[in-house]
């Protein structure tokens, strides 16, 4: 488990999502990265019922990552997070009365997984109800767990194939206390994915309004 950075790559002009993804793949293969199968990250939204009116309904996000196939992460936005066994989904069914599944809000990110020495690169297409919304790129530097130590390296590596669309230090890492040993773990990865998904969802809604 290393330091992960999730960022969004804008679709190239005049090209479709798939074509942009192919361009990225080609760049990675030119770097001599090795393709190692595929990955999938998905997120389901649950509304918390039974709270007093006046307060906004809390949203519970249950996410899965193929990198940790036996785990399931449940988190509130900006709030506590739980890493659980895969049976957590069954538990959510049992808690139907307290958490209602918002079926239309399921977001998925699928793509291929590349390995380049110590880096793991995942280029994926974010789809929401089978319509592609954007492209996500996740870069993981496996040997290090302290984000502050390896951020520059990750940034440099990302610049080599992403070109100009290199992100800033993710807010999850910026929020970590300075000076203390605060290792990154899968919760940070999932939080980043969640932010990305929410951003893409809002973007499309705005887009749909425009259309």
């Amino acid at each position: 488990m290393g330091v992960t950075c999730v960022c969004q790559v804008p679709v190239a002009e005049g090209k479709s999502v798939q074509q942009t993804v192919d361009i990225l793949h080609k760049k990675l293969e030119q770097l001599a990265a090795v393709k190692q199968g595929s990955f999938c990250v998905d997120c389901e939204t649950y509304h918390a019922t039974g709270n007093v009116s006046g307060q906004p309904t809390k949203l519970l996000y249950v996410m899965h990552n193929s990198e940790t196939p036996l785990s399931c992460m449940a988190l509130f936005e900006g709030g506590p997070c739980v890493i659980a066994d895969a049976n957590f989904d069954v538990l959510m069914v049992k808690l139907k009365s307290h958490f209602q599944n918002a079926k239309g809000h399921k977001v998925e990110c699928r793509g291929s997984r590349y390995r380049y020495c110590d880096f793991l690169i995942k280029v994926g297409t974010v789809t929401m109800s089978s319509s592609a919304r954007g492209i996500s790129v996740e870069v993981e530097y496996c040997p290090c767990v302290v984000p502050g130590d390896c951020w520059n390296l990750i940034r440099e590596f990302m610049a080599s194939f992403l070109g100009s669309s290199v992100p800033e230090l993710p807010s999850v890492f910026a929020a970590k206390p300075e000076g203390l040993f605060a290792p990154a773990d899968c919760v940070d990865t999932m939080t980043q994915y969640l932010e990305l998904f929410n951003k893409l969802r809002k973007m499309q809604i705005q887009g749909s309004n425009v259309r």
């Binding site: 488990m1 990198e67 940790t68 196939p69 036996l70 785990s71 399931c72 992460m73 890493i83 659980a84 066994d85 895969a86 049976n87 773990d185 899968c186």
Partner: protein, 656 residues
């Protein structure tokens, strides 16, 4: 009593006038016993004295009667008395009054007895003459005494019948008790045998049958064989005859496909040129002798269980051989699995099952082949199977939460700890039985071949000696050996070549004393070449070490010289040493193939022809070393290279 204490003789005369018969009388008890003391002495009542006796007798006299009769009818009385006295006086010389004489009754009885006896004697004497009297049997009353013979028969029969019945009843009881005893004994034996059986094998009662389980299912096996055996009572024994020594009251019936005995043969052979004759491995070794104390059923059940385990192992191996993809596919034919661990080599795992005592007549006349059966691998197969069983039922798995799936305990943490794929795969066991056994076979083969290489080199080459110290503690996949190359006699000086060989599954890793690590493949030739090159390097190292000891100075040393002929194995090494006073120098070049070449450099003054030159003015320059000459090394005296070198050095060091 004192009067009577003596014998009394008195005679009786009878009217018929026979001879007088004397009868002697003795009183039975002279003195009355008053008391018997504890020690047996008897205390007698003291006899009455004279005065006491007289008083006693006087008491008997009834004086009052006598005086009364004198007053009244005194005349009749004395007359009566006299009259009664007279016939008695007539009868004999009786002195005492009859009423006072205690022997009267005795005398009367005796007299009557005598009378009777005389009468009988008279009668018998008359009857004897048979003239006047004759003996006639007394005729029985016909009406009263005579019973018909039929009655007699019936009564006799009845009485005999009653007696016979009693006897029969008694005999019957006896025989019943004997039979019961024997039956009890037999039953007890069966029960005690059953108890013994139950203490070692699992039994259960189904209806009226006793069934047992000899499979490994309760130990964690997943093989679908039922492994049920039946316990039957051995009743076909004649109790009258002698019970045979190996008689057992119970017998077990094992499933028909588990009869006989089996073992798994693992062997490594050179690859067979044709695959035609596969699947016919049926050679068999003799079944092991049973121990004296074990029962027949135990031997039978153990053999059946072994057959079951061998079948399970073979089934698992063949399943894996078919499913797992490998570069060179494994061949599964009948009862054999063939795979290729190394090129040119063949590993065959076969299940040898012989049923019953039926011998295959085709196989027996064959000469038994040399046994290349790797018993270690067979044992390892059994062990790995049992380990697999244990894993199914290990304490790591049980007890476990009701909601969690079966598996390793750490796997339950995989979810909450967000293990990624590499961590999960490290927890799970991926290697199957076949892969493990192939790896073990490869290692065993590599190890034996390495040993063979080292030994052949050691026996072939004498000059630098090669020693191999094998480590006792090995792994199934790794062994190690320390190889030392030394010269005889100079072990302490020349010990610079020490190699540690780690023999793995497919490679040999050599760690040199100076830190170099070389990885050799499984090829035999590579190891041999490497060792030969090390041996040649050793010679040169030895010269270097020797020079230190002898006081010679090392001028140059190189492990891999670039001059001279190119060696096909490794590189040649060379060293140059100079004598203590600098006059002589020895140069040695040793290569694995080209052998050794020794040159000695002389001072100029020893050359036959001194080149005359105008440049050299002074004589001191003649002491410098000049030309060099080769030494005929084979003609040198000395047991080995270092010894020869020492002699040479000693020869070139003149005494001061």
């Amino acid at each position: 009593m004192s009067l009577l204490s003596s014998f009394l003789y008195f005679s009786i005369t009878i009217m018929s006038g026979g001879p007088p018969v004397s009868v002697s009388i003795e009183s039975s008890c002279e003195k009355q016993v008053q008391e018997v003391a504890l020690d047996g002495t008897e205390t007698y009542v003291p006899p009455l004295s004279m005065s006491q006796n007289l008083a006693k007798l006087a008491q008997r006299i009834d004086f009052s009667q006598g005086s009364e009769s004198e007053e009244d009818g005194a005349e009749s009385e004395p007359k009566d008395r006299e009259w009664s006295k007279e016939p008695e006086e007539e009868e004999g010389t009786v002195k005492f009054q009859p009423s006072l004489w205690p022997w009267d009754s005795v005398r009367n009885n005796l007299r009557s007895a005598l009378t009777e006896m005389c009468v009988l004697y008279d009668v018998l004497s008359v009857v004897k003459e048979k003239k006047y009297m004759a003996l006639d049997p007394v005729s029985q009353d016909p009406a009263a005494n005579k019973t018909p013979q039929v009655f007699q028969l019936i009564s006799k029969k009845k009485s005999l019948g009653t007696a016979a019945q009693l006897l029969l009843k008694g005999a019957e009881k006896l025989s019943k008790s004997v039979a019961e005893n024997q039956e009890n004994r037999r039953q007890r034996d069966f029960n005690s045998e059953l108890l013994r059986l139950r203490s070692q094998w699992k039994l259960r009662k189904v209806g009226d049958k006793i069934l047992g389980d000899l499979s490994y299912r309760s130990a964690g096996s997943l093989f679908p064989h039922h492994g049920t055996f039946e316990v039957i009572k051995n009743t076909d024994i004649d109790l009258d005859k002698k019970i045979p020594e190996d008689y057992c009251p119970l017998d077990v019936q094992i499933p028909s496909d588990l009869e006989g005995s089996a073992y798994i043969k693992v062997s490594i052979q050179k690859q067979a040129p044709d695959i035609g004759d596969l699947g016919t491995v049926n050679l068999f070794r003799r079944p092991p002798k049973t121990k004296a104390g074990t029962q027949a059923w135990h031997v039978k059940l153990e053999a059946a269980q072994n057959v079951l385990l061998c079948k399970e192992i073979f089934a698992q191996l063949s399943r894996e051989a078919v499913q797992i993809k490998s570069q060179i596919p494994h061949i599964v034919v009948k009862n054999q699995i063939i795979s290729q661990p190394f090129p040119g080599l063949q590993l065959s795992i076969s299940l040898c099952h012989s049923t019953g005592e039926k011998k295959n007549h085709k196989a027996s006349p064959e000469k038994p082949k040399p046994d290349d059966h790797l018993y270690v691998l067979e044992h390892n197969l059994h062990q790995m199977m049992r380990e697999f069983h244990k894993q199914q039922l290990s304490s790591v798995v049980m007890p476990h939460p009701a909601s969690a799936p079966f598996g390793h305990k750490r796997m339950r943490l995989a979810g909450p700890q967000a293990y990624d794929k590499s961590e999960i795969s490290s927890l799970q066991h991926n290697e199957g039985l076949l892969e493990k056994i192939i790896k073990q076979a490869k290692h065993i083969f590599l190890r034996s071949r390495t040993a063979r290489t080292i030994d052949s080199l050691a026996s072939r080459i004498e000059d630098p000696q090669i020693q191999a110290h094998w480590s006792n503690i090995n792994d199934v996949y790794e062994s190690s050996v320390k190889v030392l190359i030394t010269s005889q006699g100079y072990e302490q000086i020349c010990k610079s070549i020490q190699l540690q060989l780690n023999i793995g599954v497919e490679q040999i890793r050599v760690v040199h004393r100076d830190g170099r690590v070389v990885t050799l493949s499984h090829q035999e030739q590579e190891l041999q070449d490497f060792l030969l090159s090390q041996m040649s390097q050793h010679q040169v190292h030895a010269v270097q070490q020797l020079a230190k000891v002898m006081g010679w100075h090392v001028l140059s040393f190189s492990n891999h010289v670039g001059l001279g002929p190119v060696e096909s194995i490794g590189n040649a090494s060379a060293v140059t040493v100079a004598s203590p006073n600098g006059e002589y120098a020895i140069s040695v070049r040793n290569g694995p193939e080209s052998g050794c070449k020794v040159l000695v450099q002389f001072p100029r003054s020893q050359t036959k022809e001194l080149p005359k030159s105008d440049v050299i003015q002074e004589a001191k320059w003649s002491h410098l070393r000049g030309p060099s000459k080769e030494v005929h090394w084979s003609k040198m005296e000395g047991r080995n290279f270092v010894y020869k070198m020492e002699l040479l050095m000693a020869a070139l060091t003149p005494c001061p």
